[in-house]
Subunit: 344 residues, 4 copies
Amino acid sequence: MRAMRIGVLTSGGDCPGLNAVIRSVVHRATVDHGDEVIGFQDGWKGLLECDYRKLDLDAVSGILALGGTILGSTRVRPEHLRDGAERAKGHVAELGLDAVIPIGGEGTLKAARLLSDAGLPIVGVPKTIDNDIASTDVTFGFDTAVGVATEALDRLKTTAESHQRVLIVEVMGRHTGWIALHSGMAAGAHAIVVPERPFDIEELARTVGERFEAGKKFAIVVVAEGAKPREGTMDYEAGGKDVYGHERFAGIAHHLSVELERRLGKEARAVILGHVQRGGTPTAYDRVLATRFGWHAVEAVHRGEFGTITALRGTDIGLVPLSAAVERLKTVPAERYAEAECVL
Amino acid sequence: MRAMRIGVLTSGGDCPGLNAVIRSVVHRATVDHGDEVIGFQDGWKGLLECDYRKLDLDAVSGILALGGTILGSTRVRPEHLRDGAERAKGHVAELGLDAVIPIGGEGTLKAARLLSDAGLPIVGVPKTIDNDIASTDVTFGFDTAVGVATEALDRLKTTAESHQRVLIVEVMGRHTGWIALHSGMAAGAHAIVVPERPFDIEELARTVGERFEAGKKFAIVVVAEGAKPREGTMDYEAGGKDVYGHERFAGIAHHLSVELERRLGKEARAVILGHVQRGGTPTAYDRVLATRFGWHAVEAVHRGEFGTITALRGTDIGLVPLSAAVERLKTVPAERYAEAECVL
Amino acid sequence: MRAMRIGVLTSGGDCPGLNAVIRSVVHRATVDHGDEVIGFQDGWKGLLECDYRKLDLDAVSGILALGGTILGSTRVRPEHLRDGAERAKGHVAELGLDAVIPIGGEGTLKAARLLSDAGLPIVGVPKTIDNDIASTDVTFGFDTAVGVATEALDRLKTTAESHQRVLIVEVMGRHTGWIALHSGMAAGAHAIVVPERPFDIEELARTVGERFEAGKKFAIVVVAEGAKPREGTMDYEAGGKDVYGHERFAGIAHHLSVELERRLGKEARAVILGHVQRGGTPTAYDRVLATRFGWHAVEAVHRGEFGTITALRGTDIGLVPLSAAVERLKTVPAERYAEAECVL
Amino acid sequence: MRAMRIGVLTSGGDCPGLNAVIRSVVHRATVDHGDEVIGFQDGWKGLLECDYRKLDLDAVSGILALGGTILGSTRVRPEHLRDGAERAKGHVAELGLDAVIPIGGEGTLKAARLLSDAGLPIVGVPKTIDNDIASTDVTFGFDTAVGVATEALDRLKTTAESHQRVLIVEVMGRHTGWIALHSGMAAGAHAIVVPERPFDIEELARTVGERFEAGKKFAIVVVAEGAKPREGTMDYEAGGKDVYGHERFAGIAHHLSVELERRLGKEARAVILGHVQRGGTPTAYDRVLATRFGWHAVEAVHRGEFGTITALRGTDIGLVPLSAAVERLKTVPAERYAEAECVL
């Protein structure tokens, strides 16, 4: 097998495990295949502007357990990338790259598909703390996010119980409720509110109220940031759009605390965990998954299986076409709600 | 030494270590002195309404590392308590109590003083995550709160660095900046904003801006919930008062993120840790301190040193008169700012 | 669907998540089906001696995140159980039980099969921190064990680096190297020694030695407790057998540290994590998996699918015949070694 | 105040917080005083061999929460250092150093005193996870060690309870029982065995046995590595001496588990935490203390207060003469045993 030159980049929001993928790509490629690896700075921007640096073993020493990404990451608007496809191809040719391994979420993989269709040799690595990519059982980062949220919920439970409160905890999840579902199940939340099921504030108040009537002294509600009221049931407007066209989510927990306090006559407080969920040391689970993804991405490159992403299926890592990867969002299926007992 | 009957209660906001004090009181009193201990339910309310239960070794088994308080806690309005002093004395006599050990913060200790002055035999145990009680070096709960905030800051640092952001993290501290100072020092924050020093938003923006100009890619600002702008420098109004007359603090971090984003042209995000800081398992430090406080409170009772609270001085636990305990708030002294290098 | 009576028991070594299963069984059965649940005390012993207690919602309140098992667990010798099968059937009939849900590892499931073959209506829940049950992708407890080991390895790495040492860390795993493999990958160990591959001490010393020759200042070796030297390569005898006929594993790390120190002339130290890996709060991952197993076990009971165990396949929970469950041990397959780069 | 040149070094065993001191020295010295700081490699060895590197802000970026020491550390034999005093003075003169700040434990401070007496301008920073330096209330590293041990004990408690075991947990502490005392108190251990009080194995067995007789199902014993049996009560020999003349402690927990199992007829298991206690991320408490020590060491240098070490007294950092610092070991005083209730 001949030695290759591989470019790697990280794009999109932060996600614990990015550095573990980078490290794994460099280890597998350089130690086992004698490849050279370069890292583009700040995501696609680095590819478009040919801003990169060499990644050898020293460059990735000590980063396995480190949050963030040593390569940096910026968001690039899709149209920007479309216009830049030829430029990207030019840089890849110039640098003599045999492959590019972008590590990123839904947006990144869409961009990857676009560049792949334009002829670039790409093997993607899926990344999202939200766990909403359909073609893989799990993505790294999710377990860490769930762990951080669960630890916070564990702490909040004792304080809510002693002080007779309703606590509404907002976790990440713009379009899907995976983090809310898993952290809520793990911590034994009393209600879980997810984007897949627009909620009825009266029903939520009733559920929480029944708990108090049954003699319980507190309630914990987990709500995904993207959760929305069923139309016509509550005044609520999410926070507009940011410069990339994403809706700005913020504050559903605040709204719920006001609404529940009013309806129940119990002190209700909001906790918004925010970026704590996507930073810092990845769990062992995420480090292992990220390491395996990196390893298999390099193997795919050496086998020439381009236009794909790595994916976990059961206990095995396989490849899935980029086209399939971005087809649809993986939402929480109805049968999973039943298991949690408390998804409204 | 004759066996006694002791009542214990927890009052005020939650604080990791309350259960450790209760357990320690029960262990020391029952095992070593042959005393009987009862626990009043829900703070002063339990004393006023004679709502209590027996606390033996079984009742406190397994609670050492548990957050919250097995006795519950509610806030009682001071005037309510003043009116109830005679009732309280009546219950203490009725129950044959030799002493009451209230565990609580500033408000609780003020109430304790009032009842002590009215003739009740009281040894208080100071409690506040804010660390603002002047007569003791430290209070339990503070170390846990600082630990929780620091862990969050550690996580946020990597994500802020990779994604070129300003993160504003709001920690607890209504009147004092101890949690902000210690967590900010522990995590290496780039600016710490405390209630003791009203801030100038322009100066804060300048400090953060200089960091970016020096080539750094992110900044972490820690702000105590009670921080306020220097008069005339920024529009800001805290959130009104709650039913107990406390100001409702919320959202200074949101205000700062908007103001800094506007001034710096950098993405700024707020994280509000809220009650996570006051719930859950106490650190080893807080468990040891709480256990020692409980032990010494029982000893003080047996020596008849009433009208006092336990206090840490260096490595020793001593007693301080209740009158001195509530005289003034312990604010962060100026020389401590210097050590942190980044308190504005 | 008619309401049922279900007995549940926990058997074998400790495993984080046992209480989460018990809680889930009770919640699903009582809340959703109106069943009654009883818990047998101390595993099979409780069934044989008809020692049990009622498990209602109150009995399982607050146990989701608790390590250990509220039902207790003892080991029972297989022959003891064989002789007791009729007695067990008698008790099940006497108590009017529609099903028994034993939660346990390989030994427990073998016993379960025996009783199932004897006619008892059984749905088992597999449990082992070792992750060596072939019919399920993962077992709960494994993630927690790996997490605990990884956290220790993270701590040891910095100290080994600063102080120029070889650290040999012994983790659990009598017959399989799953914990060693995952924690070693997660922490970036430099050598991983597993029971599946008897090691050659010379080769191990050479691997570690090459690291030092390459200028590195430390090395971390993870070794599963059941690892053994390739025949004839090193004097080593595991510690005999305990009363249940299990080999007593202990000390392979001590042996390795002596052997490596002698061969390399570098200070080598052993760390033996022991039972810390199987106690305490389960990770969020394990709590979710345990909760799902409990839920599906109850469903299987109501559908009458006896003689089975719950099993994770990808993201779904299914059922597997008891006969298949105990057929063979799931060992680490060769292709997984390659991913870790450092399994000897 | 004129700018200075300061040398810093770390010596002795590992201790969480070393990097925080180094960082603090560099920050305070360079940012606030315009000093230059150099770091000697591998402790006194670096000073003797003039092996050093420049430490600017970049060199200490990101190390605040990092375990270990970026400067490395080796042990040097005292006689080696005595002979090298002139050489050290020569290097200090050559490098134009105004001061040397050694960070280390008892041995390091003795060496520091020797060099200080020989005329070197020294301000030491005390360091030991054992907390046995008499002139300071606490040393950094201790809180982290106690925290790690307590977390392990918390985990072990649930597993011991469910499985009816005696667990003997060996923690660090060669000459003093501080870590055993604090972690044992924090976790609610049932017996704490410390070097200050040679133990009687019969008495220990009786204490543990009484617990079982009272119906309890498990017991946790914490033992400091340096604990020794009262003369004539048990065969036990610690492991000889290492190359530096330190006794090699290892295995008291193993001995106790064998002895207790034999006497009580209960399964007893040993857990030896070892170096996990001295590696990895320091707690917030230790980071703050280490940072303050570094800051005050620089101030002392600028005030010319040489021949001293920094020391915590209550909430203040002061200076203590080197001569006083190494006079005697701070052992656990008898009145502290009483508070723990279970020190034999």
